[in-house]
Subunit: 199 residues, 2 copies
DNA sequence: CTTCATGATGCAGTTTAATGTATCGCTCCT
DNA sequence: AGGAGCGATACATTAAACTGCATCATGAAG
């Protein structure tokens, strides 16, 4: 593999990870099989431009040709500010996913639960933030507290605790360092409060 | 063909033409068959990344992935300032080629010709300029005058005329609009005052 | 009119990316 | 221990890029 092809493969992988996408998720978005993505990122194939474009678009990137002498400038323009580790971003997304599911479950099983409305309001506010700005530890605590409510015990203490945690995470996100992550969209590519199939 | 693939193909062609390269010349440089280059520029093939890289490198370009939101900035960085028409650049290169050959002929057939040294000095200065900055009309006149000297008639008037023209072209290039042609090298990719095979 | 270079196109044959499916080993979590 | 999701890999098959070579039409130059 030549320098550039390897470089491009690496950039694809970096962009994917920066968004916390798995190869399978990206596969769905780009319409390229997971197996093929694996090969591409490994640099074991000489991929076609159409594949590159498909993947790039799914990652909100654009393949372009730039003059060698303009390269440094372009590079500095397209730095992906990664601040938070990919692992943490992925983990945070998972937490949000589960929180979202739990919230839906609550809404169904106990729609009249006192405080549920406030919880939902906080959550929808929370979801307006970009994932990398969210505090992973806080999300974890929040998720655990929420799942406590969703059990037969109906722990009311857990509910007020959840409200507190939810607002705490939201506030942290609002006041935290600004981390202007260039090319990371405010929401992951797939919807969180997604379709239905159970309602 | 998707938008980007077409765009990339177009950029390749633009870059090639901006350098006044024929498909065959580029073919030699990049190691990609002329037929294939034609197909690629026409956008009738889904080229492989290796091909793209080969062509791009031959044109002093680099394929990169840039974030969508950084695109406008990158685009403005990599504008190929084309001011002079491709046709004229090609034509100018040909004129220079022929001038170079004529100069070599003179050097061999009449090394002691008065003024030849000055002519050569002017020419070597002239060659320091980028082709697109050179005045095509002046080059044509210069070439014709030079070829007059190189005939049996040994037209001395043509010689002083040549010196004048040579300096005129040189001066125009020196004072003309700056045309900072991003990605156009100061010399065409193939050498003009080339190897030897006659010396 | 002839010559020459250019870009486009055709064709046979080879190479290889792409795909679908399935599996494997790994790590993390319960 | 078991399950879930991850990335890597294997296989057979299909589709298509690539190659080398030959040709053709066009347009410019002598």
């Amino acid at each position: 593999m030549s320098y550039d092809t390897a470089d491009i493969a690496a950039r694809l992988q970096a962009a994917r990870k920066a968004r916390g996408l798995s190869q399978r998720e990206l596969s769905d978005l780009a319409g390229v099989p997971q197996a093929q993505i694996s090969r591409i990122e490994a640099g074991t194939v000489d991929l076609r431009l159409s594949s590159l474009v498909a993947l790039a678009h799914a990652l909100d990137l654009e393949p372009t040709l730039v003059p060698r002498k303009a390269l440094p400038a372009v590079r500095s323009l397209s730095r992906d500010a990664v601040s938070a580790s990919r692992k943490d971003i992925v983990a945070a997304q998972k937490e949000i996913q589960r929180i979202s599911e739990t919230m839906r479950g609550l809404q169904i099983k106990a729609p009249n639960l006192e405080g549920l409305q406030q919880l939902q309001k906080s959550f929808s506010e929370l979801q307006r933030f970009r994932v990398p700005t969210l505090d992973l530890k806080g999300l974890k605590q929040l998720r655990q507290a929420l799942e406590l409510i969703n059990r037969p015990t109906q722990d009311m203490a857990a509910l007020s605790q959840s409200i507190k945690l939810m607002q705490s995470v939201r506030n942290k996100a609002a006041h935290g360092p600004v981390r202007d992550a260039d090319d990371i969209p405010s929401r992951p590519a797939y919807s969180l409060d997604d379709e239905d199939d159970d309602a």
